[in-house]
Amino acid sequence: MSERRLPQQLERVGRAIYRGVWVVLVDLFRVPDRPPTLPLAAGETCETFQPAPGFLRYLKFQFWLLLVLLGSAAVFTWAAILLAAPLAGLLLAVPAAVVLVGVALLAWLAIHLQFDTTWYVVTDRSLRIRRGIWVIHETTITFENVQNVTVHQGPLERFFGIANVRVDTAGGGGSAGQHKGVDAAGGHRGLIEGISHAQQVRDLILARMRRTRSAGLGDEREPHPAAGWNDRHLAVLREIRDLLAAG
């Protein structure tokens, strides 16, 4: 009976610890406990979301993969040491195991925190991305300034039903932040990572980009009242020509 209840108890304890970590982060480390917002114009819709649950499974899969690799490497090393020097091997076993388990627990916690502190806000005209725990980074980009949208998905991500949407604005950028788009140096980029409705988000951004006729480089939308001819001007001009021709 106690065997069956053990996982539940473990989960309860884990949840309590996680809740405690959150309290510490919010109270002591001033991690914001509310999702980010964007100033909205009248009638504007706003969607606030976090990575899909598949992203958490994806991160955990990577975690287990890495743990198995590192764990087996550690066990092999330990076995080799045990064969060479039995006493040293026995003495080393406990601290090595403690370190391995400690690192694994920290990584597990970090995965959950990464998942829970990532927020995406998408409105009709802009997006805001918040990321990070120690350094909290918020990026704001209007779709008017977006140069291109990339959706990318690896085989593992496809298995977990998630994809990443990368939004680039004009301007170069070195290799800094190319991997994650997190740090301040790697600007000109917004990465919406691990979402299940990547196609919809991409379509929304593309539709928004098509509605603007500027190049997204800071050029004015309405340059001068007397600039540019449209069909109405042409119609009046034709009328004038016809009047002159008739007269």
């Binding site: 918020e138 980009i141 301040a184 600007g187 603007t212 006729r213």
Partner: protein, 232 residues
């Protein structure tokens, strides 16, 4: 801890913590002193930031100097580098002392430096993206870095505005001044107006399209003349 709603699974616990209504009470007795220290550290700055952002509307044009908390931040940062303190503190001190901001109708100007002076100017409409970054120390002091990027070739931000307590308000102010953050009606109406070509174009309202109204005037004058000429 009765004030916390708890969701079903482990990974949703953080979301529950995010969604709670009331500001959290410290759950652990041993944290209280540390929390107090953190509160003391940024007390004066944080309270002013909250009160000003709530009481009055934010006007960036009144910002000219960074707040004194920035010097505190620079001091702690240079202390954290250990022996690099003496190397770092002087430039940072002079940067703090000479840092000036000017927010006008069109853009931002930021200047600093004692021997090597630098002034950066950029217009709101050329802003490509805005980044708001807060590290742990900055959060304790109520500070933030608002990095503004234009379409230049560098990956580093063109302007990093430091030492502003109302960083969120400033960021949202910059956002509303940015291209594409305003005028949804004008943008939506534009393609429709270009598509519709009526054979008999009515004169548009004054000052909507000067070329069109001018052309309509010429047309009407011509009609008048031809009408008179025909009668005569």
């Amino acid at each position: 801890m009765p004030s916390y709603r708890l969701a079903g699974r482990l990974h949703t616990a953080g979301r529950a913590a995010l969604q709670r209504e009331s500001p959290p009470q410290c759950g652990f007795p041993w944290i209280a002193p540390c929390g107090l220290v953190a509160a003391q550290l940024g007390r004066d700055d944080m309270t002013t930031a909250e009160s000003t952002s709530q009481a009055t509307s934010f006007d960036p044009r009144q910002i000219t100097r960074p707040v004194p908390a920035l010097m505190k931040y620079y001091l702690i940062v240079s202390l954290l580098t250990g022996p690099g303190f003496f190397l770092l503190i002087l430039p940072l001190f002079f940067k703090y002392e000479t840092l000036r901001y000017r927010f006008d109708e069109e853009g931002i100007s930021m200047s600093w430096g004692l021997l090597w002076r630098r002034e950066v100017y950029l217009t709101y409409r050329r802003i490509q993206d805005i980044h708001l970054t807060r590290n742990l120390l900055q959060r304790w002091l109520g500070l933030a870095t608002v990095s503004v990027q234009t379409a230049s070739g560098s990956a580093t931000p063109e302007m990093s505005i430091e030492g502003i307590l109302e960083a969120d308000a400033l960021r949202d102010y910059l956002y509303t001044k940015m291209r594409g953050a305003r005028e949804p009606a004008a943008l939506a109406a534009e393609p429709a107006a270009a598509g519709g070509a009526a054979p008999d174009v009515p004169a548009p309202a004054a000052n909507a399209d000067q070329v069109l109204s001018l052309l309509c005037e010429i047309r009407d004058l011509l009609k008048q003349r031809l009408g008179q000429g025909g009668r005569a």
